[in-house]
Symmetry: none
Subunit: 401 residues, 4 copies
C-alpha cells in the first residue's frame, strides 16, 4: 500500500438533536479505508459545506492522506486568507478524517499514535441550572449523585436573562435581553449559596458567556475568588482578551477561555503570558486535531490545561476526537460533556460513553466511531438563523451573545 490517494471528500449535514452537524468522510484509493471528521459550525454550516465541496475537496483529491501535516498546511494556505471559522471547520473535517485513516492504517486508536494513555478516562463536567440558588443546588446534587464531580452552575436562564420590559426605551428592538447589573449581583450570591449548600470540596464552574463589560468581568472574577471555582469561563469577548491582564492583577480565580477562538493571535499570547488557566477551544473551529494537539503541547510548559469545548454542537465524531486528546495529553484539565441523545448513539456507533463522571474512549482503530449515513439522511438539517445570538442590553443595544 505504498501508493495511497484521497479519492473523494464528502460531507453530510444531519440534525439528530438540536444542532446541525456536519460530518466529513474522506475516502481513499484503498478499498474500505476511509476516515470521519467533524466540520460542525452549526450556525453557518452551508458556508462550510460549500467550502468543502467547491474548494477543499478538489484541492486534496489525489494527494496522499498519510501526510496530514502537509495537507493541513496546504488547506490552510491555499485560500491565502485564513484563520476564520468557516474555513477552519472545513479543514477540520478533512484533518480529523486523516487521523482516523492513520489510526486505521496503524490498527491503533488515535490516542496511541500520540503516546498512549496518560489516564484511563477523562473527567467530565455536567451542567446544573435553575431559577433559584436552591434549585441550582438541587440540580447539582442530582449530578453529584450520578458520580459527576465537576458541575457548572448557572442560575436564571443561560447565561442569564435580564429585567422586565419596563426598563427598555421606546422602540427597543426584539431580542434576548439581559442585564449586566443583574448578573453582577446574582452570580456571587449564587456561589455563596452553593458553597453553603454543597460544602467546599465540590468542584464548581461557571460560564459568563462574555456578557459583561470588561471592567465588570474583572470585578466579578474578584468577587468570586473566595468561592474557589474550578474555573470561571468566558468572562471576556475575544475582542477584549487583553483585559485578562487586569483580571490577573487583582485575583487568583482560575480562568477558562477559548470556545470562540479561530486565530493564533487570540491564543498564543494568552498562553505564553499565563493569562488563562484552561484553554477551551472548539477543536473544529481552530482547524482540527493537528492544531489542537500542537496547542496542547504549547500549553504544557506554561502550566495551562485543556478543556475542549464540548456542547451539543460538537458532533459525536468531534467528541470522540476530544476524548482521544483528553486521555493522552498530560496537561488535560476537564472535558465538557453534553448528554447525547439515543438517536445520536444509534447514528454514531462507538460514541464514547460516560460512566461515573468519566468518559472513556474505546480501543478501536482511529477514532473508534462509525457513521450511519442512511439514518443521517433521514434526519436532514433544517435551515434557520439562531435567535439566541441576538442578545441585547436593557437599552436595546446589541451585545455579544
Amino acid at each position: 500500500m505504498s501508493e495511497l490517494r484521497i479519492t473523494a471528500v464528502r460531507s453530510f449535514c444531519t440534525q439528530p438533536a438540536g444542532a446541525r452537524l456536519l460530518i466529513v468522510k474522506v475516502i481513499t484509493s484503498e478499498p474500505g479505508l476511509h476516515g470521519l471528521g467533524c466540520a460542525t459550525f452549526t450556525q453557518r454550516y452551508r458556508a462550510v459545506e460549500a467550502a468543502l465541496e467547491h474548494h477543499i475537496a478538489p484541492l486534496v483529491a489525489g494527494r496522499d492522506p498519510r501526510d496530514s501535516e502537509e495537507l493541513w498546511n496546504l488547506m490552510m494556505l491555499n485560500g491565502y486568507w485564513r484563520n476564520g471559522p468557516v474555513l477552519n471547520n472545513a479543514i477540520s473535517g478533512v484533518d480529523m478524517a486523516l487521523w482516523d485513516i492513520k489510526g486505521k492504517l496503524a490498527g491503533l486508536p488515535c490516542f496511541q499514535l500520540w503516546g498512549g494513555r496518560s489516564r484511563p478516562a477523562a473527567a467530565v463536567y455536567g451542567h446544573a441550572g435553575g431559577a433559584t440558588v436552591e434549585a441550582v443546588a438541587e440540580d447539582a446534587r442530582r449530578l453529584l449523585a450520578e458520580g459527576v464531580r465537576f458541575v457548572r452552575c448557572q442560575m436564571g436562564g443561560y447565561p442569564g436573562l435580564g429585567g422586565p420590559e419596563a426598563q427598555r426605551p421606546e422602540g427597543a428592538a426584539p431580542g434576548r435581553y439581559f442585564s449586566p447589573r443583574e448578573r453582577l449581583e446574582a452570580v456571587p450570591r449564587l456561589f455563596e449559596g452553593l458553597r453553603a449548600a454543597l460544602g467546599d470540596e465540590v468542584e464548581l464552574l461557571h460560564d459568563i458567556h462574555e456578557r459583561l463589560a470588561p471592567i465588570d468581568a474583572v470585578w466579578l472574577a474578584k468577587a468570586l475568588e473566595p468561592f474557589r471555582l474550578f474555573f470561571l469561563e468566558d468572562i471576556l469577548a475575544p475582542e477584549d482578551i487583553r483585559w485578562f491582564e487586569r483580571v490577573r492583577a487583582v485575583c487568583a480565580t482560575p480562568l477558562a477561555m477559548g470556545e470562540l477562538f479561530n486565530n493564533p493571535q487570540e491564543i498564543t499570547p494568552l498562553i505564553a503570558e499565563r493569562l488563562i488557566d484552561f484553554i477551551r477551544v472548539h477543536v473544529s473551529q481552530i482547524g482540527g486535531v493537528t492544531p489542537a494537539l500542537k496547542l496542547a503541547r504549547l500549553c504544557e510548559p506554561f502550566g495551562v490545561r485543556t478543556a475542549w469545548h464540548g456542547p451539543g454542537d460538537t458532533s459525536p465524531v468531534g467528541m470522540a476526537a476530544n476524548v482521544h486528546l483528553d486521555v493522552s495529553v498530560p496537561n488535560f484539565g476537564i472535558q465538557e460533556w453534553a448528554r447525547r441523545t439515543p438517536l445520536e448513539y444509534d447514528m454514531f456507533p462507538g460514541l464514547p460513553e460516560v460512566r461515573n463522571g468519566y468518559v472513556y474512549p474505546n480501543d478501536m482503530p482511529g477514532w473508534g466511531i462509525e457513521f450511519d449515513e442512511a439514518l443521517a439522511a433521514r434526519h436532514p438539517c433544517r435551515d434557520g438563523n439562531p435567535s439566541w445570538t441576538e442578545a441585547r442590553t436593557p437599552d436595546g443595544a446589541l451585545a455579544r451573545p
Copy 2:
C-alpha cells in the same frame, strides 16, 4: 420614507479579468433604492456566496437598512463564531451596500457623509517589475513618466521564484518554488541599483509577500534601511506579527502590513504599540467600510497611515469604497492601484480613474458606481483552486504564499 426595509440581498459572481469578483446588491422596500458592495474573496468565493444566500440574506431581510452599525454587529455576532475571511466578506458585501444606500438617500457621495474631502484625490502607487535591476528601473521610469510618483518594485517574478530544480531533494512535490536566500541577496542589490539609477527622490516600495522566516525579515528590513523606502510591505506572515518588535528594535524602515488580517487581535496591538506605519488591510476582509473607517480613526492618534489593499481581486465596487475613504481621512497614506481592464470599466460604470498618479472619486451619490448585471452574467466565474499559493522552499516544504 420613515419605513424602509431590506427586501433582498443578491450576490453576483463575475470574472471580467483574472479574479473572480463577488458583488452584493441590497434591495430595499423603496422602489429603485439599492446599494452595491464588494464581498470578493476570490479564492473561496463559493463559501461566501453560500454564507450570503443561506445565512446573511435571511438574517437582514426586513430590517432597516439605515441602521448600518446595528446591522454590522448583528451580522458579525449572529453566527457566534466570527472574525474570519468568509463571513467578513459576506458582511462586507452588505455593509458597503448599506453605505451606498445611505449616500443615495442623502444624495451625497459617501465621503461626504464622513466629513468631506481632506484632499481632492488619492495618490496611487504602481507596480514595476523585471528580471534584472535594469529592467525594473526601466519599468519604473515608464510609470514615473506617466505621473505616478510611488512605485513598487519587484525583481525576478513575484514575489520571487527560486533556484534550479537541482536544489530539490528526490520526491519533491510540484509547487511554486522560491528561495529565501536568493531574496535576501537580490532585494538589497535591487534597491542599491534602483537608487543609483533613479536617484534618491523617487518614492520606492517593496513587497516581501511574507516569504521569509521571521529573523530573515528582520535582517532584510535592516539591510534596506539605507535605501529609504516609502514602505516595505508584508515582511511577516500574520502568524508571526509579534516579530515586528524585533524589526523595530534594529531599524527605522517604514513598515506596511495587513492585507491578510481578519481579526482584531491581528490589528489593534500593532497600531497601539506603533509597530507598523501603514495599515494595509483588504477592506472586505475585515468586514467592510464600517470597520475600515473605524480602523482609520484608530490609526490617527498613533501616527499610522492607511494604504488599503487594492489589487485586481478587489472589485471595482471595493476600489470605489477605498477611494472614498482615501480622500476623506486625514491620515491617508497611499492607495495601491492595479490597472483595471476596459471590460471592467464597461461592467462598472463610474469606476474611479487614475490621472497623473492620482485616483479621483466621482461626485455621484453613494459610491458613485453602477453594475451591469447583464454584462456580468456573460462573464461568469470559473472554478479552480489557486496554484500560486502552493509555495515551496527548495527542500520541498510548503511555505506561506
Copy 3:
C-alpha cells in the same frame, strides 16, 4: 496483543568511531518486538549506564510500553530531582525505544505517527575548516561540489586556539588555550573573505562554542550581521542566556542555541520571547523524542525552527530519530550531519544516508534502524575524561569549553 509489557531494558556501550555511544534496547512480552533508543552522553556514559541498570530498568519493567507519555513522566518524576543530563539521557534511551516499538506495532515509520512528511528529506549542513580564509573557502567549495548547500565554517582549530605560550603568566596550568580577542578579530575577517570568495548566495554558518564573554558575543553577532549567516551558533554559555536580549537589541543576525540545554527554564523563555531563531538541542539530552516533538510544537507559533544537534556523539539511532523529526515537523530548519564511518553503517543497518545535501529516512517501521550487538561487542567503550573541555584563557583561567 492487548496485554503488552516491558520485560527488560538493556544498554550497550560501543565505540565504533571517536565517541562512546550508549544504545538502549527495550524488550517486550511480545516475541520479537523490541525498540532501540539513544542514551549517549559520551563524557559521562558510565553514570547513564548505572542510572539505566539500577534505577530506570526496574522502574519500567512490567509496564505497558505503549503508554510512552505516562512512562516519560514516570521516569522523569520518580527520582524527584530531575532535568539534568545523566537522567535525561537514560530516559531518552527508553523513550526513543518506546517510539520505535510503537512504529513497529503500527507497521509505520515514526514520522508517519506524527502526521507524515512535510518534506521528502532534510537538508544538512557540513563542516568546512582550515587554517586560513583561503583554506576554509577551499574546503567549503568541496562541500558545495558534493551538493551540500549549507556550510559551517571554522578557521584555525575548533572553535579556535589561542595565542603563543608567551602570553601566559608563570605557573599557568596545562589546558586547551584560546584567545577571545583573537576570535573577535578573526571571525569577521573569515566571513568577509568567504563572501568575497564564495558569493552572497551560499548559506554559511558559524559556531562560537560559547567561548566569549557576553558583551563580546553581542559585539561579534553585530559584526557578522553584514555577512548574513544562515545562523550563528552558541554565542553564549547556558549560564549567560539572558544576554540574548542584548544581542537582539543591536542586530538581526540569526541565532542558534541549545546543544547544552537540559532544563525547561533554559528553553521555554528563549522561545516564547523570540530570542533565538533555531533551537539546537541534543535530543537525548532533553530526554528523548517525546519532549523534542513537544519542543518543535512549542517553537512553531513563535517562528523558531529546529536544528537538532547531530555531531558524532549522537548515536546512529539518535540520528535516525532526528531525521524522522526533521521530515515531519513543518518548522524544521536544518540538520547538522557529521559523516559516519563505514563501521557505523555496518553496526547500524538502516542508518540514514545523505545524498546531494539531503538526508533521507527510510520507510521501515519505527526508526527503521537495526543494531548489530555482536559487532558492537567487538568495539567496546574505552574510558577516559575529555581534555578538550579543559579550555583556558591566556591568563590560565578555566573557561567554558
Copy 4:
C-alpha cells in the same frame, strides 16, 4: 606542604536510617589529611557513585585540593553537559571535602574561613503533623514546649493524600493518590484553626510540595495571606516557576522555594526579580558549598534569606555544612532540621546538635564531623525505587511528587 595533591576520591553508600546516604572522602598526599563531603541523591545514588568512580575521581586525581574554585569549575565543565542532579551531587561530594580539607589545613572551622559567626547558632524549624487540626495543634505545642519556635504544620498525610478510591476511573493505576481540591479546602482551614489554637505570635510554616496546578497555588497563597506564615514552601513545581509573578501580583505571603533546583536558570531570575523570600536549595543538588556560598551572597542584595533544605536525605556531613553556612551569612533565614537517629550520631561523630530550637556547629577544624567507615559498612544501602514519587490525581494521571 607547598606540594599537595589529591590522591584518591572514595565514596561510601550507607543507610543508617531511611535514606541512602552517599559520603565522599577526598584523600590527599599529606598523610592523615582528608575531607568529607555529601553527595546524597538518595533516589539515584548508583548513578552518582558511577559518576564519582569513573569520571570525577580520575579527573581530580593529582590536582591541588586547595584550588577548590578551579576544581569546582573543572568538574562542572569537563563533562560538557552540566547542571543536573547526578553530576551536581558528585561534584558536591568532592567540593565539600575540599572545604573540609581547607579547614583542617587552617586549623579552623569552615565558617571561620568565610568571616566567622554572624550568630552563635541557627534557629531551626520542626515538623508537626496530624490527621486533624486539633492533632496538628497538639503536635505543634509539643515542639514549642521543646523550645522550637518555628513549626511546619502539615495535616492529613504529607503532603496530603486524596479521596476515596470510588473517585477513580476504571483502570486507574496504582500510585499515591491525592486530591488538589481537598488541599485547597483543608489548608486554609488548618491555619485558621492553628491561629485560633496557638495564637498569632507563633511562627508557622507550610509545605505544598508542588502538588497544585499553578493557578491553584496562586489562589492558596492568597487564601493563606491572613494567617501570616513565616513562609509557604514549594507551591510551584520547578517547571512552573514563572507563575511566581502571578503569586506576587495578588498577595504578600512569604514564599520559600528551591529544594529541586539544579540549574542557574531556575535560581538567578527568581532572586534578581525578588519573586521569592527564602532560597531553599538542597546544597549538594546545586553542586556543594562553593555555589551555595555564592548563592547566599547573591541573595543578600535582593533581600532574600537562606533556608537550606535539610530533611533526612541530607547526610550528616551535608547538615554540618548547612549549619556552617547558617551561622556565617548575615542573610540566614531558618534551618530545616529533621531529627537524626542515635545510629547517625554514632556513625558521624560531631554531627551538630539542636538545643532549645537552635542548632550549633562545633569548633573543630573543617566541618567538625567524622565518619565511622566500619560502622557504615555494616549498614549498606538497599536498592529500590521510591514509590512515594508516583503521585496521582484522582483521575489516575501522574502528578509532580
